[in-house]
């Protein structure tokens, strides 16, 4: 598992990266009440705001961590946004992105580095 400074977790399987948000991020957001996912088969560029996530308190975005194509989205989150709080690193993954080059993941933090990043 790799982590971004935007509190996303990335899990690589072949050339497919599954993306979600960390438990820390879910706790900071509070109760999630709305999730809007990207459309399938769209090409996204790193930094694109592709997910809208709203808690009772505020709206925020999740950005594409890498260039690639959206190949799967987790529609269960649209029906049950609270999953993001219940199981952020498991059932509440957001999307899967097909990447060209898995070396792009190298720059992201590993678990120890991420823990240090959030001050744990």
């Amino acid at each position: 598992m790799k982590y971004t400074e935007d509190h996303e977790w990335l899990s690589l399987d072949g050339d497919i990266v599954t993306v979600g948000i960390t438990e820390y991020a879910a706790t900071q957001l509070g109760d999630v009440v709305f999730v809007e996912l990207p459309e399938l088969e769209t090409q996204v560029a790193r930094g694109d705001e592709i997910v809208v996530i709203e808690s009772v308190k505020a709206a925020s975005d999740i950005v594409a961590p890498l260039d690639g194509e959206i190949v799967e989205i987790n529609a269960a989150l649209v029906e049950n946004p609270a999953l993001v709080n219940d199981d952020p690193t498991g059932a509440a993954w957001f999307f899967k992105i097909k990447i060209e080059d898995d070396a792009a993941l190298d720059e992201f933090m590993d678990e120890d580095e991420y823990k240090e990043h959030i001050g744990e």
Binding site: G30, D31, V33, F34, E36, V52, E54, S55, V56, K57, A59, V78, P81
Partner: protein
Amino acid sequence: MAEDATAPLLTALPLAGLHAELGAKCVPFAGWSMPVQYPKGVMAEHLWTRAHAGLFDVSHMGQLRLPKSALEGLEALIPADLLDLPEGRQRYGVFTNDQGGVLDDLMVAHRAGDVVLVVNAARHAHDLAHLRAHIAGVEAVSDRALLALQGPEAAAALSALVPGVAAMRFMDVAVMRWQGADLWISRSGYTGEDGFEISVPLAQAEVFARALLADARVAPIGLGARDSLRLEAGLPLYGQEMDAAITPVEAGQAWSIGRARRAGGLRAGGFPGAAIILEQLAHGAPRRRVGLRPDGRAPMRAAVALFAEAVGGDAIGTITSGGFGPSLGGPIALGLIAANTPTDATLYGELRGKRLALQQVPLPFVSTGYKR
């Protein structure tokens, strides 16, 4: 740490230590460091208040004390019937400006020996100067905390400590003794629920709050749930539903303008902006407040533009407050729209480049529990 030197200084609540102990997450609000939520989270705190009793620290709000003779002077600033406000009662009002806009909203309590006002934190300094320019003997109460206990079990929980509150009705005010302290109590609040607002001397504030929290029916509630609770109750927030360019008539607060202050009343007019406000009462205002429920799940928050058509056309208004209503399980909003919009028309909010439908609904969104 150069950043710290330029950061705005936040005032700590008198009960800051207790909030920290309770695990509060604090945010800056109107110059104060305020608990926005406790470990339960906004959703659970909201629902707890609707089912049991929530304790809010609202000590950031301004408490002002005036001589009884000030009621007449207050009528020159507020279009409410204050001279007929009986002793032991409190009334809602707004300070208006010459354009009929609202400078702040407030509570006016007529007590045995004085008049007590509660004003918004962000407008405290303004209101103090505004009052002092017109009325003598205005005193800022700086030695008291202000707590609110709200919810269907609030009366039972508070009467366990202060039995006299059980006999109070909605908007009654009284002074009651608790462990040697004078509590200034009103049966009122900002959640739509039955409840009380309690002004406590600073020296006893923490022990009093702890005594309430020791009751299993009572949980601490932050600013986040305070906002979602008031939104569901259709209660306006100064700076959002009302400001210097929005009249009380437009904001849906015309009910607070007493009959005596209206055209043909015993003391008609005589407040800033009276000509405009009385004209709006007689012939309608250009805009009106509206309760809205988005068709979809996406919350639409303040500043979202509202349209009468799904495509094209000019904006007919804006959302003034919006978010998720935990008791309704869906998004809700308050808006200010052109008054000539048909009351059954579907409206469209422009969110992230898309127009999403909303329906106009009666306010409040939830039924209220006031003990009248």
